[in-house]
Symmetry: C2
């Protein structure tokens, strides 16, 4: 969607929220900790300001984030005029099934993706924030809302999940200082991280083993590809939510700078995640197939007309092209 709105400051964002009520907070499809932490965190802030809100998402909330829903009252009056806000949603396409109904109605977007196209009437964008929850935390401070332990839980979860627990290159000194503030509010950060990162279902462990067995290496071992086929889903009984973080695996192999993970969708076609290390731009690869994202982590989709083999071939073509641009030379498949 073309840009149509204007970009505003955090202060204007606070003013906007202060002057409105009855908020509908949109989160992105395939919701993660940051979009949900932002949504429910914002709902808690609005509640403290005596305002009503409800958080919605096109997709089901993964089990490990379900506890968010009990932290904030979901009390917008859907029969009355709503103030529609989107959080951590870079493009209306990412609203999933909610796109049709709400794409043109988003009055405010709070986001940290530099790829945000400015689809909302007003957008607060902090591209330096590792997680959108950092913006929500700063907004709470600016609004004079006391951040309590429940808010801290939601915001810490968003920050931790979007930074791989302070590991990724998006992590800044500010990210750590906000993390410190949130921990001081009494949350059990280790327990959050255990649930978010450490605990794997036995199903997941089995699936990882299968995926590793089938891992392919290309371009002189600088690119690793794993495909999660429907057969693997069926054999292990895993769901999409069991797969979170699996996209980090290919890039984690020594020497690999482009990791590609293809998940075969139930309805056919593939959901694809690309993770890179410098100098390769993951979003440049995904943009070539109509996707997008960040420089080190991006995503795209391929339709049901692609067989597994063709989908891998298609992605390798674009990986090769972007690698050749990055290295200013020919990349051969070995």
């Amino acid at each position: 969607m073309e840009s149509k709105g204007r970009f505003i400051t955090l202060f204007e964002t606070a003013e906007f929220l202060s002057g409105k009520d009855n908020f509908l907070i949109l989160t992105h499809q395939n919701p993660d900790g940051d979009t949900l932490g932002s949504g429910f965190g914002l709902a808690m802030i609005l509640d403290k300001l005596g305002k009503k809100s409800t958080v919605i998402c096109s997709d089901e909330i993964p089990k490990k984030y379900e506890y968010f829903t009990s932290l904030a009252p979901q009390n917008a009056d859907l029969q009355k005029a709503l103030t529609v806000i989107a959080v951590d949603v870079a493009d209306t396409k990412l609203l999933g099934d909610l796109e049709e109904k709400y794409a043109d109605k988003v009055e405010l977007c709070i986001d940290h993706h530099v790829s945000n196209v400015g689809y909302a009437k007003a957008t607060y964008l902090d591209g330096s924030a590792a997680a959108n929850c950092e913006c929500i935390y700063e907004l709470a401070k600016l609004l004079g809302v006391e951040v309590d332990a429940n808010m801290a839980l939601a915001l810490y979860t968003g920050i931790s999940t979007d930074t791989g627990c302070f590991r990724f290159s998006n992590t800044t000194a500010k990210t750590h200082r906000i993390g410190a503030d949130l921990i001081e509010l009494g949350i059990d950060s280790a327990e959050i991280n255990r649930v978010m990162f450490e605990t794997k279902s036995r199903i997941r462990v089995e699936l990882e083993r299968m995926a590793l067995d089938a891992m392919q290496f290309h371009f002189n071992n600088r690119c690793a590809v794993i495909v999660i086929t429907r057969e693997m889903y069926e054999k292990t009984g895993c769901k999409d939510e069991d797969l979170e973080g699996i996209t980090a695996i290919p890039r984690s192999i020594e020497g690999v700078i482009v990791g590609v993970t293809l998940r075969e969708r139930e309805q056919g076609g593939f959901k694809i995640s690309v993770r890179t290390y410098p100098p390769v731009d993951a979003s440049a690869i995904c943009k070539r197939v109509g996707g997008g994202g960040h420089i080190r982590a991006a995503g795209c989709q391929l339709g049901a007309e692609y067989s597994t083999e063709d989908a891998v071939k298609e992605m390798l073509k674009h990986v090769k092209a972007v690698m050749e641009e990055s290295f200013a030379g020919t990349v051969t498949d070995k």
Copy 2:
């Protein structure tokens, strides 16, 4: 070793260092990021104070920490009287081959293990520090030494590796604030974490798959055990340094509260790591076999008289006993 020394404040520690010179800095055997970060970090501080020092260890420095050695001049005059300091060493037993020569000569120990027995003439112990490198950072501040990017590199590495990148329950608000300070000194924390955590050799990936294949579950799936046998070492060609972090795997399975990893040593016998979740005390399990450590992470050894099967049986006996104490009831093996 019995306690013989006294416990001192950080201020007294700074005074001690100010009044001495020609330091020999001892680190613990099987050196990790925290003992080496503490050692080389302290060496850099001493260098800035115009003092000479050399860091030593009974074992070879793992490849990924080798860069530490180029950060600090190693210039103690070993022919003259030395001031012997130990960092991150809870017990003289952990000095390995250096124990015999130095056990009685440690004038100062800087440590964060609450199990520190006070073997040094003077010990600065901060049991609330997630990593000993936090203590070294605070010491630099107290001594008025400007922490530069090289020091930050060593100290960040120690903090990150000892907290699982700010993930474990030892992580505090202070840990994050020091992390923030260090990042502001211009270090590439993502690159450090990539080397420390994300990058796995293909050998390591292969070994993990073997270990997972052979994983055993006990006590109603609450205990998981993996054994890294000599055969696995040989098949994959892996070294001990390829194994770092492998001890986190058993406990990472959903429902597991005691994870036990046995590594068969080249000379026979086993090096054993125990990782637990509440309410089970890992150090209580290891103490029963002459080992020790922290409440969630501890270690012990079993001699060459144990076969693999016997070693597992022996450990399960102690796991069972401590689980029964923890749950105040009988634990049966299913």
